[in-house]
Amino acid sequence: MENESASHAPNGSRRDFLKQSSLLTALALTPTAVIKAAENDEEIASVFEKVPLKFEVNGVKHSLSIEPRVTLLDLLREQMKLTGTKKGCDHGQCGACTVHIDGRRVNSCLTLAVMQEGKKVTTIEGLANGDKLHPMQEAFIKHDGFQCGYCTPGQIMSAVACVREGHASSPEQVREYMSGNICRCGAYPNIVDAIMEVKNGGNKI
């Protein structure tokens, strides 16, 4: 098998167009087979403006068609209407866009959505269990771990990972391992308190 699946190159020749139209027809019928075919022929694949993406968000499987340049953050917010994840800086500098991919916290603004094929993404919307808030969400409310709330979804996603990673053994360690989440309102002391309470509660989160 060849190794590439590709997309985008809007300069369609007639030959490309023919390939595209027949491919698009085929795509509607047997997606997997044709995507395999596309993997065999970079030129065929390159007539697609959009690339197929299959992944899971908050336990729900999605099969989408996206432009390669779309970040995971923009896909979640603009196309999937999951606006809980925030865009602060869009350059990896603030942590507002923190989500979990396969259980690990990352900045979704520097993540290309197309690279998430087969991955499991969790956003702030996927943290609560129905109407029952996640213990970290409860702790943030109890300790007033926010003021305007803009950084909060990112803080909470980061905080959950921080505890799960085992990086919440002391307030000092929490401050270091939460440094990727900036809070312009300066709610830091309360955020640290909230995380320490969840950690000291000892429950698996």
């Binding site: 590439e4 990352v106 900045n107 270091e176 391992y177």
Partner: protein, 326 residues
């Protein structure tokens, strides 16, 4: 971000071929540097070759050498039990870099290949010989607080931003490369280059070269090693000056010293003169000061980074004191 073609490489060879075939193609690993630069228009590849599905994620011990795959994540390498035990300097340097989230994305290969954080490089309306060869160096006469004090040229005074690379330079790592002409081994200190007349070239790779991993040899430095990073805030900031210090000490005598500095040059700056001075001498603050002073003789500051002429030697001495536990 301008549109680009996305290629998912499933084999090393096809990844290399895809970049060889197309002059404007670039590999993508963690994406934490490339996506940022693409959003800002600093770089605009027409083809992006995703290498994250290649089997280069492992950290393995082989014939007394530690092999770190190019796709091993910064967070995983930093906490790898073998790295923590035998190469604490690398673990500390990795943990001093970026944030927990970014370290979950950033890869070993991508980290050493990250571009400078010089603001003139980032701002596409300003002159920068690295981004736009021939346009001039905006930092030379501009705001140059973060810039080099060693090995700069009148074409470029940018510094390499990586923390990991400083530890790898001190530990004499070897970069394993695969490319058009087969496989190569590049000693880490020869991997990055000084700006000279071609600041647009960061390192000695050529088109199509894929970093496949890094090799570290067991050494006697694990008991006396420290990475000291001085920055504008306590965490999540690039280094003003950083020092990787590793000592092989017998009693109170230094058998061997390894020293490298970050935030001061276009490449990780090995302190060969200071290392040579320290070999065979007692581990005392006095000797540390003398070694640092010797090294500083070739330093040259610009308008806003004169403070580095004091900060750099002080950081060397402090890092050595912590490493030697004196």
């Amino acid at each position: 971000m301008i549109p680009f073609q996305y290629v998912r490489a499933l084999k090393q060879r096809s990844a290399i071929d895809a970049v060889l075939k197309d002059k404007s193609a670039q590999f993508i690993a963690g994406g934490t540097n490339l996506v940022d630069l693409m959003k800002r228009g600093v770089t605009a590849p027409q083809k992006v070759v995703d290498i994250t599905n290649l089997p280069l994620k492992e950290v393995v011990l082989k014939n007394n050498k530690l092999l770190i795959g190019a796709l091993a994540l910064n967070a995983d390498v930093a906490e790898h039990p073998f790295v923590v035990k035998h190469f604490p300097l690398l673990s500390l340097a990795l943990q001093a870099g970026a944030s927990a989230q970014l370290r979950n994305m950033a890869t070993t290969g991508g980290n050493m290949l990250q571009r400078t954080r010089c603001p003139y490089f980032y701002d596409t309306v300003l002159p920068c010989n690295k981004r736009n060869p021939g346009s001039g160096c905006g930092a030379l006469e501009g705001y140059n607080r973060m810039h080099a004090i060693f090995g700069a040229s009148d074409k470029c005074i940018a510094v390499h931003p990586s923390d990991m690379a400083i530890a790898l330079a001190a530990l004499d790592a070897v970069v394993l490369v695969s490319g058009a002409k087969g496989d190569r081994r590049i000693p880490f200190t020869d991997f990055h280059r000084l700006p000279g007349d071609r600041p647009e070239i960061d390192n000695n790779l050529v088109r199509g070269d894929l970093v496949v991993g890094v090799e570290l040899s067991q050494n006697a430095f694990s008991k006396h090693a420290h990475y000291l990073k001085i920055r504008d805030r306590a965490s999540y900031a690039f280094a003003l000056v950083s020092v990787a210090a590793a000592l092989d000490i017998n009693g109170n005598t230094i058998n061997n010293a390894r020293l490298a500095m970050g935030g001061v040059a276009h490449k990780p700056w090995r302190l060969f003169t200071a290392e040579k001075f320290l070999a065979g001498k007692p581990a005392t603050e006095e000797n540390f000061k003398a070694a640092a002073a010797l090294e500083m003789q070739t330093a040259k500051a610009y308008e806003h980074n004169k403070f580095k002429l004091t900060l750099a030697p002080n950081t060397v001495v402090e890092a050595l004191k912590i490493a030697a536990k004196v």
